[in-house]
């Protein structure tokens, strides 16, 4: 469960970093916005949780994607995707989005009803049917993205752009359009993740930090820019976190996990599954 959600939220970040070589610190806020919009849509759309959920699956990625489009056009392109300037600018964006969410939606945690509820009962504990659905949906999305990247023309274009911006330009690939598309797709993906997760978690304007940090961790362990690596890392972390916390107090477990991630990045900057940077 944790692993599927993690992989999904990290996917967008990984995609953006992979192709554009920039870190979007506002990634978590895109997630938060997606969740907020899911709540808002569910409230606005009549016809019960299922209708609201379906509507949110359209509205949230579209709106967040549009915001990402503006960000890419008005901000990132102007600073020429400079890695450090991008981090600073997206930190700024993080604050702006947080404040807007607070002003527009308020500070309360906003619960969203799951489109369906079904509790799968095991003899020793129960499991939510909706959570299982989230896992299945995440797997579908991950496989879908992988398929696009590995098997289609778009994927090829993205990989060429990732490999070398100049070469791509020389091959007549509209690099700017590709960047826009990737950034928007990354944001839309994380918004979808948020819509899926919000019936489990609820929306809150400060919820973005946690997925951001976790996504960072996943993307780092998996190797910056490697989608396969991100998925494997999400699985490992989703499980390891649970295992570590059996042996240590949870806060200590978090400390150990964080340190471990940092050390991985120090020893193998390319991540566990990444290939050495050119």
């Amino acid at each position: 469960m944790a692993a599927a959600v993690l992989a999904l939220s990290a996917l967008g970040l990984s995609l953006v970093f992979g192709v554009m070589r920039v870190v979007n610190v506002a990634h978590g806020e895109f997630f938060m916005l997606g969740a907020m919009l899911a709540w808002w849509t569910a409230k606005m759309v009549p016809g019960g949780p299922l209708a609201g959920f379906m509507a949110a699956l359209v509205v949230a990625p579209a709106a967040v994607g549009f915001l990402a489009f503006l960000t890419e056009r008005l901000l990132l392109r102007r600073i020429k995707y400079d890695p450090e300037a991008t981090i600073v600018a997206t930190i700024g964006l993080l604050f702006v989005i947080q404040q807007l969410a607070l002003s527009l939606f308020g500070a309360d945690a906003k619960p969203v009803a799951a489109p369906f509820t079904y509790r799968i009962a095991f003899p020793w504990f129960g499991y939510s049917g909706y959570k299982l659905f989230v896992v299945v949906a995440s797997v579908f999305i991950l496989v879908g993205v992988w398929w696009v990247l590995a098997r289609t023309r778009y994927g090829l274009i993205m990989r060429v752009t990732q490999f070398d911006r100049e070469t791509a330009t020389a091959f007549g690939i509209p690099v700017n359009t590709v960047y826009s598309a990737v950034f928007v797709a990354g944001a839309a993906l994380v918004a979808v993740a948020a819509v899926l997760i919000v019936p489990i978690q609820q929306a809150h304007y400060l919820m973005g930090l946690d997925p951001l940090l976790m996504s960072f961790i996943v993307v780092i362990i998996g190797g910056l820019g490697s989608i396969k690596g991100s998925v494997i890392a999400a699985l490992i972390i989703g499980m390891a976190d649970g295992i570590i916390s059996v042996f240590f107090s949870p806060t200590l477990a978090s400390i150990i996990a964080t340190l471990a991630v940092a050390l991985v990045l120090v020893v193998r900057p390319q991540g566990l599954f990444g290939v050495t940077a050119r």
């Binding site: 404040q99 607070l102 940090l213 961790i217 940092a262």
Partner: protein, 311 residues
């Protein structure tokens, strides 16, 4: 040089002219400007963008707070202890994190800082976690070199903060003007080249890292002892972003930029909070505008256009 003395002198005179509130605010600005100056040594001059400086600030903060309340240190001893702790932590962190570079360095420092934040919570028995600890007034009154010092005294505290800030500016100026300063800039400009000129780049980066971390810890110690509080909020990610913001606003790789940036940001937030609650929005917008239009900050832009001699 003259400019820097003038700034110090102006700050000294300000306490006679400004309102009580401004004096209090300036005290805080000066203490935190030391943090920004420390940050600038690494970010501005060496070109290493750390997202984890809260960890050093917190090192000083807690070394001073726990040193006085739990270990029974006097205030001067607590300052010394905080500096030593800052030195040790930044040395260890530097050796580890400097193996990474670029974006990886940013994220590694962020991670370590987050681990430090969690560590503060983990030792909640001593640190009282998020709630934090208050340093009693009895500890903040002490005799030093025959003088009776009371850190609750606003005038004394202002001048102490000013003296510390003066030292930090002088130190920063000294470093920047020295051989090591030139080499740090060379590393920022072109690391491979500098290494191929026979410089031990790793050692110089470590030196910058340690100076930066130690200054930050010193600022943290000042904060704890002068304002009598240490809490985990001051170790959170936000306090890693603050010095970056201040430095960027004032002008990275200018000696006075961090001071100006800290002051300006305080005034902005303070003014805004009287009219609107959109503090976050403003910080965000300032960051974005800076990156878009003034990537060199205020003093950096001034240096580029007018005062080329500005250090």
């Amino acid at each position: 040089m003259f400019l820097h003395l003038a700034v110090i002198a102006a700050l000294f005179l300000a306490q006679f002219a400004a309102s009580e509130y401004i004096v209090l605010m300036l005290t805080r600005i000066m203490v935190l400007a030391i943090f920004a100056i420390g940050y600038n040594l690494l970010f501005g001059y060496t070109g290493l963008l750390s997202l984890g400086h809260a960890m050093f600030f917190a090192t000083g903060l807690y070394a001073a707070a726990l040193g006085t309340t739990l270990m029974g240190l006097t205030v001067p001893a607590a300052f010394a202890f905080a500096v030593l702790a800052g030195l040790a932590v930044s040395l260890v962190m530097g050796v580890i994190t400097l193996r990474a570079s670029g974006v990886a360095f940013m994220i590694v420092t962020l991670m370590f800082s987050q681990a430090a934040f969690l560590t503060v919570l983990y030792f909640g028995e001593y640190t009282r976690g998020d709630e934090g600890i208050v340093i009693p007034d009895t500890i903040r009154k002490f005799a030093f070199l025959g003088f009776d010092v009371d850190l609750a005294n606003a005038v004394l505290r202002y001048n102490l903060a000013l003296a510390f800030l003066g030292c930090a500016i002088a130190f920063s100026l000294l470093i920047v003007r020295s051989r090591i300063g030139h080499i740090l800039i060379a590393i920022r400009e072109n690391e491979t080249r500098t290494s191929m000129l026979g410089y031990d780049v790793q050692r110089y980066k470590l030196a910058a890292f340690v100076m930066s971390g130690t200054l930050s810890a010193f600022s943290g110690a000042c904060y704890a002892l002068m304002f009598a509080y240490a809490g985990s909020t001051l170790a959170s990610i936000q306090y890693s972003i603050h010095p970056l913001l201040w430095t960027l606003l004032g002008g990275a790789s200018t000696v006075l930029g961090p001071v100006l940036g800290t002051g300006l940001m305080f005034v902005l937030v303070d003014l805004a909070s009287s009219y609107t609650n959109a503090n976050l929005l403003m910080i965000g917008v300032v960051l974005i505008l800076l990156v878009l239009f003034f990537p060199k900050g205020i003093l950096g832009t001034i240096r580029e256009r007018y005062w080329k001699w500005l250090p």
